[in-house]
Amino acid sequence: MSAPVEEHVEQPVSRPTLEELKERKEKSRQRVREDAEVLTVSMGPHHPSTHGVFRVDLDLDGEVIVATRPEIGNLHRGMEKLAEYRTYHQVIPLTDRLHYVASFAQNEGFCEAVEKLMGIEAPPRARFIRSMGHEMCRIANHLLWLGIHIMDFGAITFQQICFREREYMMDLWEMLCGARLTHSFCRIGGVAKDIPDGFEEKMRAAIETIPIRLREYDRLIRNNRIFLKRAKGIGIFTSEDCAAWRITGPALRAAGVERDLRKNEPFAAYPELDFEVAVEYDADVYARYLVRMREMYESCKIIAQCLDRMPDGPVLAEDAFHVIPAKKDVMRSSAAMIQDFVHVFRGPQVPPGEVYKAVETPHGELAFYIVSDGGPKPQRLRISTPCYYHCQATPALFEGEMLADIVGIFGSVDVCLGSCDR
């Protein structure tokens, strides 16, 4: 690198109070006229900017949105019903396909919930691999989000640029688990496979390159007049709104709330890792952009720490009643073969009870509510996805805003309809 790379400069953070934010929100939204003649437009399920098959019925008074009626369910698969017919091991590939941009994060959430229910723990090496995988998903998700968000604002090349970076992560995932997109890498009691040879060098090269590229993109976007005009002061959603509408993740942290389940309710190896929670205080589209950019830098740091501190050991817990054994043992040891047989044909042994476990996925707090009646299949699996509630909050997000701004606002809360409809 010939040119000096400038350090990520910390901008002085202004911290408006809740009242100030509410005032700014009132000012930024348009006043809705009493005698408005309303035109209803359906921003239909087939739309280039709805991030999936999401339908909103917008009542417009000119350019101002008077009322919104979201309609979801175009991708409803009945995943919760299907999960009741499958053993806990077989539910893992279903959870992949929730928020398909960051599959491993969902796998991990489910496995953490089931491990809590069973009362077992994954070995240390598996926990570090899980954290690393989770952060890889975070980088991949935020890169896709960035590309599509900026493309929605009109800079179409950004999608291509961010996909180039995303290919680093996809290649690494392919090396690790064989799949680019729907990983199914987590297992109850650990992860499926150990890190292969050559993975570490490639990973370190990737996390060296990605921050450099991110700084380039930051330079292009952060002080860009068009982006500032379209993002600063638009789409203000205060912390009270976020709590009332169950908005979590970067949108909540952009409103000044320092809540990140990796710190508040740690899972995987996060208690042993140092990182900062990215918080901004302006609660607008611009703040959410800043939060996600910082999260990407932090993710690179976390992955570096995971690689440095990775302990040796097995990647699956030694627990015959709850864990599927590693395939290499199945053909070599009779105990493992019996264990494999029982788990595949019957399922794991699970105590009766119920758990509610939430993890911090790249788009918000994903929670699994599992009710077990003591059998190998869940009696009830409720998946509480962040995107479901982000879609529900569209009336509160859009009302009073101008039509041209809603694409940016909706993109900034990062919705994926597969996760919404399950």
Binding site: G44, P45, H46, H47, P48, G52, V53, G73, N74, L75, H76, R77, G78, K81, L82, P93, L94, R97, Y100, V101, L144, Q159, Q160, I161, F163, R164, R166, E167, M170, R180, L181, T182, L417, G418, D421
Partner: protein
């Protein structure tokens, strides 16, 4: 209500009615062929030139439904770059599209919209069905998912996978281009699309 379960031996989907009469496009081609005074070689060359043009500028409808859409976008990304084949212009409006890449499962709620979009695409059109979910429903054998888009509309190419790699989608697109060169369509020989035939219209 006409219901068809392909596994039920008692219900045989009789689509022969759809296949007896020539399709409108075949009729038109027959008319053109018969009335034209130009010799056959010029028509064939003209067709070949037009088909070649269509091959290198197939503009699919931007219709990614689910996970396969991410791989479709990756295929359109810088690494696999279907822009080399003239396909980067994924049209948002069906009236401007040459076909559909149905990427993802189709739920009962989405099915009427898929059909409507398909019918809005002007002839000639080619449909590529991407992923196992659109091909056959994949693991989603539930109350809300259509078990295969070919129950609704005629399909040219199926690309299985969950999700198929961008290279697999690319191979599927090459097969589409071969179909374009040959001038074959999924709806050749059909009077109406399968779902309309089964609904009895």
């Amino acid at each position: 209500m006409g219901i068809a379960d392909p596994r039920d031996p008692r219900e045989i989907r009789d689509l022969s009615a759809a296949l007896k009469k020539p399709s409108p496009i075949e009729l038109q081609q027959t008319l053109e062929r018969d009335e034209g005074q130009v010799p056959g070689v010029l028509t064939t060359t003209l067709e070949k030139v037009i088909n070649f043009g269509a091959t290198v500028s197939y503009w699919p409808l931007l219709f990614g439904l689910a996970c396969c859409a991410i791989e479709m976008m990756a295929c359109a990304g810088p690494r696999w770059d279907i822009s080399r084949f003239g396909m980067e212009a994924m049209r948002a409006s069906p009236r401007q599209a040459d076909g559909m890449i149905v990427a993802g499962w189709v739920s009962l709620k989405m099915a009427p919209r898929v059909i409507r979009l398909y019918e809005q695409i002007p002839d000639p059109k080619w449909v590529l069905v991407m992923g196992s979910c659109a091909t056959s429903g994949n693991i989603w054998d539930t109350y809300n998912i259509v078990q295969g888009v070919d129950a609704l509309l005629p399909v040219d190419v199926y690309v299985p996978g969950c999700p198929p790699r961008p290279e697999a989608l690319w191979q599927g697109l090459e097969m589409i281009r071969k179909r374009i060169r040959e001038g074959k369509h999924g709806y050749d020989g059909m009077q109406t699309i399968p779902v309309r035939a089964a609904m009895g219209e």
